[in-house]
Symmetry: C2
Subunit: 317 residues, 2 copies
Amino acid sequence: MTDTLTARILAGDVRAAGRLMRQVDDQHPGARAALDALFAHTGGAYIVGFTGNPGSGKSTLVNAFIRTCRQKGLRVGVVAIDPTSPYSGGAILGDRIRMQEHALDEGVFIRSVATRGNLGGLSRSTPALVQVLDAMGFDVIIIETVGVGQDEVDIARVADTNLVVAVPGMGDDIQATKAGIMEIADIFVINKSDHPGADRLRRELKTMMSLVENPPEDAWTPPVVHTIATEHDGLDKLFEKIEEHRAWLDAQGQEGARARRRIEHLIRLIVQGELDARLARAMGSQAWKQEMDALTERQDTPWRAAELLIAMLGGEA
Amino acid sequence: MTDTLTARILAGDVRAAGRLMRQVDDQHPGARAALDALFAHTGGAYIVGFTGNPGSGKSTLVNAFIRTCRQKGLRVGVVAIDPTSPYSGGAILGDRIRMQEHALDEGVFIRSVATRGNLGGLSRSTPALVQVLDAMGFDVIIIETVGVGQDEVDIARVADTNLVVAVPGMGDDIQATKAGIMEIADIFVINKSDHPGADRLRRELKTMMSLVENPPEDAWTPPVVHTIATEHDGLDKLFEKIEEHRAWLDAQGQEGARARRRIEHLIRLIVQGELDARLARAMGSQAWKQEMDALTERQDTPWRAAELLIAMLGGEA
């Protein structure tokens, strides 16, 4: 059963891949064997991260980039990470809209990941989905993320080249530095670069980069690329800069180290999932309920309770 | 030593509080005893979360809200969570600028938290810092966060009332739903409400809320408040709506449940920190290096490696 599913995925069967991805999302126990079997066939894809605030036109840019890749004969897989809103089912909606352009193209596979709020799920299943696309033989895999923060740092560990998409006129200097995504950028993209303020934004980005003290001599300096995604403007330049970054990684011998970090990151996420499950079991126990009663009466402290909980985890390990 | 520090903090000594907060940030072992001792004195503060994208004028709004609270004789503590940029030291800069207004006011204490990228640190120390402010007797504690995603959901578990700050003209419908912070909002604030598009944004927010299927009869419907923080406009209305939400929580009997969830959340963060430390030790071992060599050669799989790692953790528990 698993053998058949694995074989079909390796043969590029998108329905089989979709089925395994749903199993991954649902934490179906059957997914594990298939992922184990696929792992030996991974490592061939080049992974590009697209990160930027809502309003940056990032989804349009990703669509335009897919077109550029297709023109060059490259097959493209996309994992789009959308925090799910209970009001809209935003991920699915966005997915459908984007699928329209590439629906009939077998060289493109787009998968949206719902994040399910409080389980730390934003990045949990992403590396496994990337593995499936990698094993299917996609040349380029795009990971698209919204917003800023820890999630983006997690994503950066999965991608070979990280693009940070900015847009003119969306905030002043201090707010730009708050974004916290500057540190992961291999390439800055100024999208909607025909809007007022594009040159000012470019200068600000250059200034921020110039503030890095004593960069190593062979350091990569993130270039700033101007695009107008809606008019497919600047996409060839962007593709070129990604290739330059890839060549730089190769020259640095960092691709091996990145691949290793990527595997380690995947393992961390798997371990995290298992520990979370054990924690949930421990926190559902009667002993824990009594401890919580003592805590709400301020008769014990959270730090002592944490010790108790860790002992409960260890007993099950 | 710890007794003295604790006593000084309970007496409202801001220097002593600052010292303990630095110990918390640095994960200094001495912090634990002081936090244990302070815990019995917590639970009196009302906690308000301010969340919104960069560019929403959120920091200005928080400043204006502090002023409103001070006018009512309330003492205010602030924990501002700023992803640190290696280019700018943004957190410290923002802190200094804001401190200027309230520098001479002993009824205001502002503390910025640096997030330190990859340690999942965004929310790790926040609950402990909130506890220190709570024990010091601040009436209102503000937690200010940037951006969207998992971090905001974590923050929501700490706050009694969560404000989501939006601003007109920063994106279309689909992008608004991507924000993923709609689900945590108790109150929506449209800041810069004199900008074009404020009414449209209000309609969009109302439409999104109307899409909730079968809400419980006694559910809280998040109000939409218009503010112009730079002109101190709408702040009394905002304060009023927070009081209404507080009264609703009291009527629901949910304050106790929230307090309990808050403690449980704090414990989770403490446990997480300890497990991360054990994981780091295991992944620094020679046995792990050999396993990683096998993995990069695709001679083992990440899922089997995760089992090995969990066994290594359990042995230390």
